[in-house]
């Protein structure tokens, strides 16, 4: 009774945040300026713009679903868990909203702590190892990013005589020498690429996913990874334009290799959660190809992919969590032929899978189509090393093709074929579980069939 009250209370708070956002969404974009310790260069300036409005919507949409998902998987210390959920939601929203680099950093770094506890307290067998890895990987990048932020602040102070960490002020310092810019950009990118993650900085992610409880995995894949994407699009690329031009080729290469690498690794996994974790790495690689290729189409494609992947991977992790709650196994071999016994779950799993592999009519298709088209366009317009550019675009394309192979392999082995244990008790999705899956697939299909609604507002992304 007590636990249920806390669950519904958290759900209610999250829903009201979502409702509030939907009410003000018409007024966007807008900025809100709250002076706070301005002599220290700090402020609480908020802005809703094309960079963050869909990510904020995704956050506000996924968190109530995560709370619903936690009903069956979190049984002990429920109040602490929901406190961590709310804390995590607020910090993630702060990361997306704040326009001051130091306040952004504070939210970014502090959002590690609730996640640290969610994995560490409610995780699986190797949860402590997973928390250490998660913490140490993510904080290494952020410390270097902080020194870069301070360096930019000092540069601004020395040029203009006042202290400010506002993004719009620091953008004025983009006349730094390319070599300095490259170092600073490396510091920023390290923090963001660890979070996204792009190989070779990805090794924390599979372990964190496998050990995290289902709600933790949903937050991790659905939202936390997008913080890195947002950081690259909003801060890194505008702050260091010349350095980015210098390194663009290498970055695209890194991202497209990441797309293929993640997909290949997903292909050989036997643990269902690991398949989806590695597929996240692959999808994020493709997404970053879009970000690095640049231009309105590619960036909008990347943003659509961020939302699409957030919905699909959160749904897939939830579905795997449903299987795990029922049969206490995540290995592919222990399942088979579930379609006969669990038709509802199978239907939704396949719908989510279709979005993950970019099937037309789902949001995944819109995203991948935009990214791949613009990356081939980019390669076509290259003056030199055109063939290398095409090779990179083909690499990104093969990542998408591979995603179809490994996801359909999962579907074939888990849901088709012979039923492994016919005598076991099978229970299909309950009303609560159906609700979560329906909401996720509704948005996937809506934006898949009517991408225009979303793309219209993403025009500000350049």
């Amino acid at each position: 009774m007590h636990n249920n009250f806390i669950r519904y209370f958290t759900f209610f708070i999250q829903l009201s945040l979502l409702a509030f956002f939907l009410l003000i969404w018409k007024e966007l974009p807008f900025t809100l300026s709250i002076p706070f310790a301005s002599s220290w260069g700090l402020s609480l300036n908020l802005a809703f713009d094309a960079y963050n409005e869909y990510l904020i919507f995704l956050t506000l949409l996924l968190f109530p679903l995560v709370t619903l998902a936690s009903f069956s998987s979190i049984k002990d210390r429920v109040s602490l868990f929901h406190l961590m959920l709310l804390l995590s939601e607020i910090l993630i929203l702060g990361t997306f909203l704040f326009q001051n680099l130091v306040t952004f950093y504070i939210c970014w770094e502090a959002s590690i702590i609730p996640m640290f506890f969610i994995i560490g307290l409610w995780g699986g067998q190797k949860r402590i190892e997973a928390t250490y890895k998660f913490l140490l990987y993510t904080s290494l990048g952020t410390l270097l990013m902080l020194s870069a932020i301070l360096y930019l602040g000092v540069t601004y102070y020395q040029t203009y005589g006042t202290l400010s960490f506002e993004l719009r002020d620091l953008l004025l310092t983009n006349k730094l020498p390319v070599i300095t810019q490259s170092y600073l950009m490396a510091a920023f990118l390290l923090a963001f690429m660890i979070k996204i993650p792009i190989p070779p900085f990805h090794t924390w992610l599979p372990l964190a996913h496998v050990e995290a409880p289902t709600p933790g995995s949903m937050i991790l894949a659905g939202i936390l990874l997008k913080m890195g994407v947002y950081g690259v699009m909003k801060f890194t690329l505008p702050l260091f334009p010349q350095a980015f031009e210098t390194w663009r080729f290498a970055l695209i290469a890194l991202a497209s290799v990441g797309a293929v690498y993640g997909s290949l690794l997903a292909w050989v996994q036997d643990d269902l959660k690991k398949v989806i974790a590695y597929s996240s790495i692959g999808h994020m690689g493709l997404l970053m190809v879009g970000v690095f290729v640049g231009g309105e189409i590619a960036r909008s494609g990347a943003m659509v992919h961020a939302v699409g992947h957030g919905l699909a991977s959160a749904g897939l992790f939830f579905a795997v969590g449903m299987l795990y709650d029922r049969y206490h196994s995540r290995t592919l071999d222990s399942y088979g032929g579930l379609a006969r016994k669990l038709p509802v779950l199978t239907t939704f799993f396949i719908l989510l899978t279709l979005s993950a592999i970019g099937f037309p009519g789902t949001i995944g298709f819109t995203a991948e189509f935009l990214i791949l088209t613009s990356s081939f366009q980019w390669a076509y317009h290259l003056v030199e090393q055109q063939s290398f550019g095409f090779a990179l675009a083909l690499l990104a394309l093969s990542g998408v093709l591979l995603s179809a192979i490994y996801m359909l392999r999962v579907v074939a082995r888990v849901f088709w074929g012979q039923l492994k244990s016919p005598e076991a008790h099978y229970q299909d999705a309950t009303g609560r579980e159906k609700f979560i899956l329906i909401v996720l697939t509704l948005f996937i299909l809506f934006w898949g069939l009517f991408p225009h609604a979303m793309l219209e507002t993403l025009k500000g992304l350049v």
Binding site: Y105, I106, I113, G120, I128
Partner: protein, 433 residues
């Protein structure tokens, strides 16, 4: 303008009055903890009030000299004293349980605080040395009354010997400086920096090294963990906050721009980075909370030494800010540890306590996150301010290295958080001891 001798040293005089009051307890055979704490708090508060009063009478940057230049008062020095007394005041809240008579504890503590106040106001080598001794000698006795007698004796003897040797070399350094400059006034020494004789340079070097040893800057930190281990937790606070606070201002006074003169920046950067790295790395392996805190304070001193790279006028405020953010957190941490572990300071005792004692473990969590420099806790802002200034002074690489050093600290501090919250089984004692 305050010319009056009595007025200039009013805060110190009030503390001295307290030093006279406490022996009266002996006469009346009072063992009341509350009364002793009350008198202590009143005397420190009065001294604090006197500092505020003096500050209100000071005009701008004027410098008052009293006792023929041995004793200096200025608005800046008064601000330092106010922070120092504010850091001292909470010790009354912690109380004392290892002394037979609480008033003896407070007498010794007050005498140490008095020494610290003299150090801050010192105008010549004489007052400097007197303040240093007054601050340190009571600590020998305070350490002696630790929770475990054998450890406490060891710690006290170690502190006595090491500190004795270091103080002797400090005195020798001062003598050489006197020989080299012909004056015992600090101002004289500062203005003579340009033309230093070999004696003065060597003397300065000796003074500098002794101060570093007293501050437990790595690699001169070896005595710190041992002494910490033997003393009670409130003395750990005194050792890592109060003495270091006063000593840093001594360093501030005698180095007054020296690092540019003698090209000592390299040395300073090297020492502070070694402290940050070693303090954070060695903290990871500790089994005792007090040793852990000792290494943590080695790392903090590393960050504080970086402050000396900045222009003279920025050093003081930044140091004050750092202590004002760091000390309350340490105090909270110590309070939590004492409530949870009592006299047994092994880290094993913290295991799974986050679950058993939810509210009491919160100060520990806040303390650890703050030491690790995780936002939005105070330690983060302290480090942020220091690093910003270091980059502003033109040393971005040093700041990056210092951040990497504190990265190791994250590992060490989160190890404790993991054992507090994530370990499900409390530590079981396998044998009787």
């Amino acid at each position: 303008m305050i010319n009056d001798l009595f007025q200039t040293s009013l805060p110190e005089s009030l503390l001295a009055l307290g030093l006279i009051l406490f022996p009266l307890f002996e006469i009346f055979k009072s063992t009341s903890q509350k009364l002793a704490t009350f008198v202590w708090s009143i005397m420190v508060t009065l001294a604090l009030g006197a500092c505020f009063y003096l500050l209100s009478t000071m005009k701008g940057a004027e410098l008052c000299q009293a006792y023929s230049g041995h004793f200096l008062v200025s608005a800046d020095l008064l601000k330092i004293k106010i922070i120092f007394l504010l850091l001292t005041l909470p010790l009354g809240l912690l109380g004392e349980k290892y002394f037979m008579n609480p008033h003896k504890y407070y007498l010794l503590l007050l005498s140490s605080v008095y020494g610290g106040m003299l150090l801050i106001s010192a105008g010549t080598f004489l007052t400097l040395f007197m303040g240093l001794e007054l601050m340190n000698i009571p600590l020998y006795a305070l350490i002696l009354n630790g929770p475990k007698k054998s450890k406490a004796y060891e710690a006290s003897m170690k502190y006595l010997f090491i500190d004795g040797i270091v103080t002797a070399s400090f005195l020798m350094g001062l003598a050489l400086l006197y020989y080299g400059t012909g004056s015992i006034a600090l101002s004289q020494w500062v203005s003579n920096q340009g033309s230093l004789t070999v004696h003065a340079q060597f003397g300065y070097f000796v003074v500098f090294l002794s101060l570093l040893t007293k501050l437990t800057v790595a690699p001169f930190h070896f005595w710190g963990p041992d002494v910490n281990e033997g003393s009670s937790l409130r003395i750990v606070y005194v050792l890592s906050i109060l003495t270091k606070f006063a000593l840093l201002f001594v360093l501030w006074k005698v180095t007054f721009g020296m690092f540019n003169e003698l090209r000592g920046q390299g040395l300073l950067i090297g020492l502070s980075l070694i402290s940050i790295f070693w303090g954070n790395i060695a903290a990871y392996k500790q089994q005792s909370i007090k040793r852990f805190l000792a290494y943590s304070s080695v790392a903090q001193i590393g960050y504080l030494l970086l402050v000396f790279l900045l222009p003279q006028n920025e050093q003081m405020n930044l140091t004050l800010l750092y202590f004002a953010l760091y000390a309350p957190v340490l105090l909270l941490f110590i309070w939590g540890v004492e409530k949870i572990c009592g006299t047994n300071d092994l880290l094993q005792n913290l295991e799974a306590q986050g679950r058993a004692k939810v509210l009491l473990s919160l100060p520990l969590l806040i303390g650890l996150l703050s030491f690790a420099g995780v936002p939005p806790f105070p330690g983060f802002f302290a480090k942020l301010a220091v690093m910003f200034s270091v980059i502003k002074a033109g040393y971005p690489v040093v700041a990056v290295l210092a951040f990497i050093g504190s990265y190791f600290g994250i590992y060490a501090y989160f190890r404790l958080i993991v054992s507090l919250y994530l370990n499900s089984q409390p530590f079981q004692k396998t044998c009787k001891n």
